[in-house]
C-alpha cells in the first residue's frame, strides 16, 4: 500500500518476519489491533447465535448445553480476548509514545513479548473451545466450575496467561509515562488519553496478579481439590467471588478508563476547543482507578456475604460513580461554543455520551442495595454492562480507531459509509439492549436458554436489533478494509488537532520524531475567533 509514500514504519521493512520480530510500538499496536478485531468477530458471532436462539421462547435452535457454552464463550472471548487488550494494547501502544514525544515505549522487547503471551493465552482459550467448550459463564463461579465436566482448565489457564500480557503492558506504560516524556512535557501537559492509560495501567499491575492467583487456585481446586473454594472440600464458594471480583471489578475500569481518555481527545479535537476541566478529568481518572478497588462487593449483594460488607461496598460504590459524572459534564461543557466537526470520530464520541450516560446512570440502580436485590442477575444487569462496555468502551474504541486511522495507515475511509455504519450500530445497539432493561424489570433472569412466553415480544425486538448492529459492524469492516488500499491519502493532520502525533507524517516514520520535540504549551491550544482564550 506504500508505492509512492515516503519511508514510514509500514514500508521501511518488509516481510512477515519484520512484523513478528518488530520492536516498534506502532507495529505491535497493529498486531494487537488485528488480533482483537479477529476475536471481536468471533465473540460477535457467538452473540448473534445467542440472539437467534433467544428469538423464540423454547430452546429450539441450540440445545441448552450449546447455549450455555455460547454465552460463556461470548463473555470470555469478549472480556479477556477483546475488551481488556483493545484500547490499551492496540490503540494505546500506537498512540502513547507519539502523544508524549517518545521514540518508543520503555521496554520494547517486553512489549513484543506481551503480545506473544497474549497469543499463547488465546491459543489455550481456542484449545478449550475445540476440546468441548466451557459452560461456566465467563465468571467461572465455584462450585459449578469445579464440578462441570467441560474443558474449564485450558480456558482458565488461557485467561491466567493473558493476565501476564496485561500486566506487562501496564508496567511498560507506567514506566514510559514516568520516564520517557519529551523535554517540557510536564504531567499537566500530557494529553488526557495518556492520563487514561496511566490510570488503567495502575489497575492492570495492581489487580491482575490477584486474578492470576485466583485462576491458579481454581485450577488447583479442580486438579488437587485444595478446599478453598469447593464446599465439598471444606471451602467457601463465596470466597471465590471475592477473589474474582477484586480483579474483575477494577477490570471494568481497565476497559472504560482508556475509552474515556479517547473521548476527551476526540471531543476536544473535533470541537477545536480546549478541553473543559483538564485537571478534573485527569484526577477523576486516578480517583476512579484507586476507588475501583474498594467496591467489588457490589457484585455480591445477594451472594450470602455479610450485611456489613454489603453496606460498606454499597457506600463506596457511589463514590466511584461521582468522578464518571464529573467527566460527563466536562465533555458537554467542552462542546459549548466549540466549532463542532461532525465527522465519524465525533459521531462515535456523541454516541458514547448518550450510551454511557445510560450505562452509568443504570449503575446507580444497581448500587442501591434494595433495588439491586430485585434487579440482580436479571437482564437489567446484562443491559447495564452492555451499555457500559459496548456503549462506552466499544464506542470509544471506534471513535479512536476512526480518529487515528489516517495516522496509522495514511489513508482516509469513506466518511459517508462511516456515518451509515455509525447510525446502524447506534440504532441496533439501543434496540438490542434497551429492551433488555425492560426485560430485567419484568424479572427475566439472565443465562436462560429458554424462557416463559411472557418475555417473548421484547426478546424478539432485541434479536432484531442485534442483527441491525451486526450489519453496521460488517459495513465498517468493509469500508475500513477498502480504505487500506483505495482510500484517499491522509494529511498529517486531517482533524486540525494539536497533540504531538499530528505534527509528524501520516503514517509516522519508524523512529517517530526525527528531533525529539520540546514542549512549551498545553496539549489543547486551539485558535479562537473572539480573541485569545476568550
Amino acid at each position: 500500500m506504500s508505492d509512492t509514500a515516503p519511508k514510514n514504519y509500514l514500508n521501511e521493512q518488509k516481510g512477515i518476519k519484520s512484523w513478528l520480530l518488530t520492536h516498534d510500538h506502532k507495529r505491535i499496536g497493529l498486531l494487537y489491533l488485528y488480533s482483537i478485531m479477529t476475536f471481536f468477530l468471533v465473540g460477535g458471532v457467538f452473540a448473534v447465535m445467542m440472539r437467534l436462539e433467544l428469538w423464540t421462547p423454547p430452546s429450539d435452535l441450540f440445545s441448552p448445553d450449546t447455549y450455555n457454552q455460547l454465552f460463556t464463550l461470548h463473555g470470555a472471548v469478549m472480556i479477556f480476548l477483546f475488551i481488556i487488550p483493545s484500547i490499551p494494547a492496540a490503540l494505546g501502544n500506537f498512540v502513547l509514545p507519539l502523544h508524549i514525544g517518545a521514540k518508543d515505549v520503555a521496554f520494547p522487547r517486553l512489549n513484543l513479548a506481551s503480545w506473544y503471551i497474549f497469543i499463547i493465552g488465546a491459543l489455550f482459550a481456542v484449545y478449550s473451545l475445540v476440546s468441548g467448550g466451557v459452560d461456566t459463564g465467563w465468571t467461572f463461579y465455584t462450585p459449578y466450575s469445579v464440578t462441570t465436566s467441560t474443558a474449564v482448565v485450558p480456558m482458565v489457564f488461557g485467561a491466567f496467561v493473558m493476565g501476564f500480557s496485561s500486566i506487562f503492558t501496564g508496567l511498560n506504560f507506567i514506566v514510559t509515562i514516568h520516564k520517557l516524556r519529551a523535554p517540557g512535557m510536564t504531567w499537566f501537559r500530557m494529553p488526557l488519553f495518556v492520563w487514561g492509560l496511566y490510570a488503567t495501567a495502575i489497575i492492570q499491575v495492581l489487580a491482575t496478579p490477584v486474578l492470576g492467583i485466583t485462576l491458579a487456585l481454581l485450577i488447583m481446586e479442580r486438579v488437587v481439590g485444595i478446599g478453598i473454594f469447593d464446599p465439598a472440600m471444606g471451602g467457601d464458594p463465596v470466597l471465590y467471588q471475592h477473589f474474582f471480583w477484586f480483579y474483575s471489578h477494577p477490570a471494568v475500569y481497565i476497559m472504560i478508563l482508556p475509552g474515556m481518555g479517547i473521548i476527551s481527545e476526540v471531543i476536544s479535537a473535533l470541537s477545536h476547543k480546549k478541553i473543559f476541566g483538564y485537571k478534573a478529568i485527569a484526577f477523576s481518572s486516578l480517583g476512579i482507578a484507586l476507588t475501583s478497588f474498594l467496591v467489588w462487593g457490589h457484585h455480591m449483594f445477594i451472594s450470602g456475604q455479610s450485611e456489613l460488607a454489603a453496606m460498606v461496598f454499597s457506600f463506596l460504590t457511589f463514590f466511584v460513580g461521582i468522578p464518571s459524572g464529573i467527566k460527563m459534564f466536562n465533555w458537554v461543557a467542552t462542546l459549548y461554543k466549540g466549532s463542532i466537526d461532525l465527522r465519524a470520530p465525533m459521531l462515535y464520541a456523541l454516541a458514547f455520551l448518550f450510551l454511557f450516560s445510560i450505562g452509568g446512570l443504570t449503575g446507580i440502580f444497581l448500587g442501591a442495595m434494595s433495588v439491586d436485590v430485585f434487579l440482580h442477575d436479571t437482564y437489567f444487569i446484562v443491559a447495564h454492562f452492555h451499555y457500559v462496555m459496548v456503549g462506552g468502551t466499544v464506542m470509544a474504541l471506534l471513535a479512536g480507531l476512526h480518529y487515528w486511522w489516517p495516522k496509522m495507515f495514511g489513508r482516509m475511509y469513506s466518511e459517508g459509509m462511516a456515518r451509515v455504519s455509525a447510525l446502524l450500530i447506534f440504532v441496533g445497539f439501543n434496540m438490542t439492549f434497551f429492551t433488555q432493561f425492560m426485560l430485567g424489570i419484568q424479572g427475566m433472569p439472565r443465562r436462560y436458554a429458554s424462557y416463559p412466553e411472557q418475555f417473548a415480544p421484547l426478546h424478539g425486538y432485541s434479536s432484531v436489533g442485534s442483527l441491525i448492529m451486526a450489519a453496521g459492524f460488517i459495513l465498517m469492516g468493509f469500508y475500513l478494509f477498502y480504505s487500506l488500499f483505495k482510500g484517499a491519502r491522509a494529511d498529517k493532520n486531517p482533524w486540525g488537532a494539536t497533540t504531538l502525533e499530528w505534527s509528524i507524517a501520516s503514517p509516522p516514520p519508524s523512529g517517530n520524531f526525527d528531533n525529539v520535540p520540546t514542549i512549551d504549551s498545553d496539549p489543547y491550544e486551539y485558535k479562537t475567533a473572539a480573541g485569545p482564550n476568550g
Binding site: 520503555a106 478453598i228 472440600m233 519508524s510
Partner: protein
C-alpha cells in the same frame, strides 16, 4: 536508527541518557515486585481467612512442621540476601572477583534452601500430609486439616518456584560477570536480580513465622 557516536554502548536508542534508562529499569522492576506481592497476596488472604475460621487446625497442624529446618532455611535465605547485596556492592566498586564469589555464594545458599525444602516435602509426602484431597494423614485433630497443608504447600511451593527462577537468573549473571559484561558503569541486571532476590527473602520472612512458629 541513527545513533550519535557518543551514544553509550548499553544505552537503547529510545533513551537519551544512561540514568534515565537505569531508573526506568528500576521502576519497571519495582512495579514487577508489586505484582509479585499481590500475587502472593491472594494466598496470604487464603491463609488469613481460613486461619480465622479454623484456628484449631492451624494450631494443631503447625506442630507437624519442623522448626529446626524452618529456622535453618531462614538463616540460609537471609545470608543469601546479604551475599546478593554484597555482590552488587562489589560490582559498584569494580571488584569483579569478589562479585563472582558473592554470586556463587548466593547460588549455593539458594541450593541449600531447596535441599532442606526437599527433605521437608519428602517427609510430608511420606506421611500423607498432602494438600487437598490427597491428604491421608490421621494424626491431626480439628476441622479439615488438609486445608492447612493446601495453603502450606501452595505458599511454600510458589515461593520455591521463585527461588528456582532466581537461581537460574543468578546463574546467568555469573556467566555474564565472568565475561566482564558488568562494571560500575553498567550492572542494572544484577541490581534488578538483587531486588527480586530480596523480595523472595522478604516473603519467606513472613512465611516462616506464619507456618512454623504460630500456626
Amino acid at each position: 536508527m541513527s545513533h550519535s557516536s557518543d551514544h553509550p554502548a548499553n544505552l537503547a536508542h529510545h533513551f537519551t541518557e544512561v540514568e534515565q534508562q537505569q531508573e526506568s529499569a528500576k521502576l519497571g522492576m519495582w512495579l514487577f515486585l508489586l505484582t509479585e506481592i499481590l500475587l502472593f497476596g491472594g494466598l496470604f488472604c487464603f491463609y488469613a481467612i481460613f486461619r480465622a475460621w479454623n484456628p484449631d487446625i492451624f494450631h494443631n497442624a503447625h506442630f507437624h512442621l519442623d522448626v529446626v529446618m524452618g529456622t535453618l532455611n531462614t538463616v540460609v535465605l537471609i545470608t543469601s540476601s546479604v551475599t546478593m547485596a554484597l555482590a552488587i556492592r562489589s560490582l559498584q566498586l569494580d571488584q569483579k572477583r569478589a562479585a563472582l564469589w558473592f554470586l556463587w555464594s548466593t547460588l549455593i545458599l539458594a541450593g541449600i534452601f531447596l535441599v532442606v525444602k526437599y527433605f521437608e516435602y519428602a517427609h510430608k509426602f511420606h506421611l500423607g500430609q498432602l494438600p487437598g484431597k490427597y491428604y491421608t494423614f490421621q494424626g491431626i485433630e480439628g476441622t479439615n486439616p488438609h486445608i492447612f497443608f493446601s495453603v502450606y504447600f501452595l505458599m511454600t511451593g510458589l515461593h520455591g518456584i521463585h527461588v528456582i527462577a532466581g537461581m537460574s537468573i543468578i546463574g546467568w549473571l555469573i556467566v555474564k560477570t565472568s565475561r566482564n559484561r558488568f562494571s560500575s558503569q553498567y550492572y542494572t541486571p544484577v541490581e534488578m536480580t538483587g531486588l527480586y532476590w530480596h523480595l523472595v527473602d522478604l516473603i519467606w520472612i513472613f512465611l516462616f513465622p506464619m507456618f512454623y512458629l504460630i500456626g
